[in-house]
Symmetry: C2
Subunit: 102 residues, 2 copies
DNA sequence: TTTAGTAGTCATGTTTTTTTGACCTCTTGT
DNA sequence: ACAAGAGGTCAAAAAAACATGACTACTAAA
């Protein structure tokens, strides 16, 4: 008995799962769901988080097209990260996952 | 501006995400979706996989209630892992994820 | 009795991820 | 001029995840 020779065996969801499960990523995602997020605010609000990891996480979520980096050129010029379309499409998935956890 | 003081900040989906994203886990899951899986068969069929990691992955998926370990006391006695109810409920989530990857 | 298959464990080593702490740039407030 | 906040980077260390190889126990066939 052989478990189907799906030799070329890369689960399509795998990459996305990895991206979403890195340290701090789920939190970042959740914060982003209810509004734009900013670096130093996150650093203050997520206890235990550190610059480097947040920077990496944001960069990865951005490069995966889940967050958009926006430079707000106003009075004290700052940077915001918003959920993209792709990011939004993940919301129901998180909700389902939360439903399953119970 | 403070990103909502959801100080006690554990994303409910986080644990599940982590469980699903460990090495070989997505593959194990996929194999399990189309039928019971067995240790040595997996070891042969998943190229690159090693005993230790498979054992750990199976154990974790089992302890999370995603797989059930079944001892088949037949002729040459062996062990099978099947998707549980919880495991089945993850199937649509994987499908959605696959739809998003594109 | 030796070999082969199933289903692992254990100790160890390597690799990858995360964390720490120092440093940098730019802008605004005092 | 200097401090303080925003938004980082870099090198190095610590921690977590993965891989390797040796070994175990049981069963069955040669």
């Amino acid at each position: 008995m052989t478990t189907k020779n799906q030799a070329e065996n890369t689960c399509p969801a795998e990459g996305l799962l990895k991206i979403l499960s890195g340290k701090w990523k789920p939190q970042l995602f959740r914060f982003a769901v209810n509004g734009a997020i900013r670096f130093n605010t996150l650093l203050r609000d997520i206890e235990g988080a550190n610059k480097q990891s947040l920077a990496t996480a944001l960069k990865e979520l951005e490069s995966e097209g889940i967050l958009h980096k926006v430079i707000i050129s106003e009075k004290p010029l700052h940077i915001e990260y918003n959920l993209s379309e792709k990011g939004l499409s993940l919301v129901p998935i998180f909700q389902q996952l939360e439903g399953i956890v119970k």
